[in-house]
Symmetry: C2
Subunit: 224 residues, 2 copies
Amino acid sequence: MDGFNIAIPRSTLPQVAAERLRALIIEGILAPGARLNERELSEQLGLSRTPLREAFRLLAAEGLLLQLPNRGVQVVALSREDVCHAFEVMASLEGLAGELAAARVTDADLDDLKALQADLEKAHKRRDLPAYYRVNRAIHDRLNAIAANPVLAQTYRALNARLHALRFRSNLNGAKWDRAVAEHRSMLTTLAARDGAGLRDLLVRHLHAKLQAVLDTMKGQDKE
Amino acid sequence: MDGFNIAIPRSTLPQVAAERLRALIIEGILAPGARLNERELSEQLGLSRTPLREAFRLLAAEGLLLQLPNRGVQVVALSREDVCHAFEVMASLEGLAGELAAARVTDADLDDLKALQADLEKAHKRRDLPAYYRVNRAIHDRLNAIAANPVLAQTYRALNARLHALRFRSNLNGAKWDRAVAEHRSMLTTLAARDGAGLRDLLVRHLHAKLQAVLDTMKGQDKE
DNA sequence: ATTTGGCATGTTGTATACAAAATGCAAGAT
DNA sequence: ATCTTGCATTTTGTATACAACATGCCAAAT
């Protein structure tokens, strides 16, 4: 019997630092394009430069930071094209998650998702955008969990982190929001029918719609 | 006029170190599961522990190394399941590459690919496995280049590195090899027809076949 | 006036020293 | 004999010192 995992979760200082930085980037406190001073940041975070530099390398590998030799790191500023490319990949990954989930989903899973869907619609009716985002994310996470592919989950998570800063700000307007909720509803029925290919298509289209929403909010502010 | 990129490519020591380590891992000189001693390795590579540790973090982010707090790093040993999961994702990404490539491919591209296909068949006829792998990789790289999605290319590359060590050793037997070559032929005609969905399916199936070949060679040597 | 060269300053890159944690071994207790 | 406990050694984690590089300023020359 060792179904229990009692190991106390320890993470290294660089990992913790990376998490903090990730949050700061996503919240926009560290703005895209901003150059990060090692000494300054290390003092603010209360650690030395060495673990901070390892955190930098982590985030650079994830694609959140850009490392310029002898010129330090800066927060990546995504161009409109970058966003399109990232969404193309995200859509494909999410489609795969759907396909896998359809093959493996249990009735219990479906019940959970139905509950989440109800929450989603509630948030939508209340026009509570933060709550909507939270539930939305929970649903997509759940789908990934059902897909039960850790490699997929990790790849997806890494990519998502890069875009999260943007999505955070993409304020859905009425029509698009309604449509997104409707799409979620059909996703659920498609999943219940165990229609993998159908769910895949739906998710891909769903993400393409999301891309449009993001691109709309990006309009004007051209970054490269 | 600045279509030229004259910037002399400089890389940091950690990046160079990471490349070396990646090569050593892929070639199997650093065996899966092996624990890497920082001091020892840094002396062998001729650098200090600091840049080496940053290289470790890079490779850990890529999924080639596993970091255990206060217990250093070790080369990841992929279980059969890990390989299946990775291939599922790879297949999806390669499928996306095919889909995109079909939409963007030019006649010049097709000519290049035809030439590569000829090389592939030659290598097959000669039963020259190393050459076959080389050309095979060139074809897949070319496809990714045509797809023109840097995010996809990077994601694909990272995942591929994790599996390369395995594929290296997967010795195709006669029947599977013949089939792979045939699949490549139909890929080319499907691409020429600009049939994105068709090419996607083909590539996904192609990779599933590859997975089977890899799993076969893994049989027996159970690692977890 | 503009440009170029050198210098001063600040910032990153690498090495090393020190601290903390883990590992292995041996001695003692049960 | 086996298991535990404490110590010595090894190894990793963090901080800091030093070196290399980049940047901005000022003076001098054209």
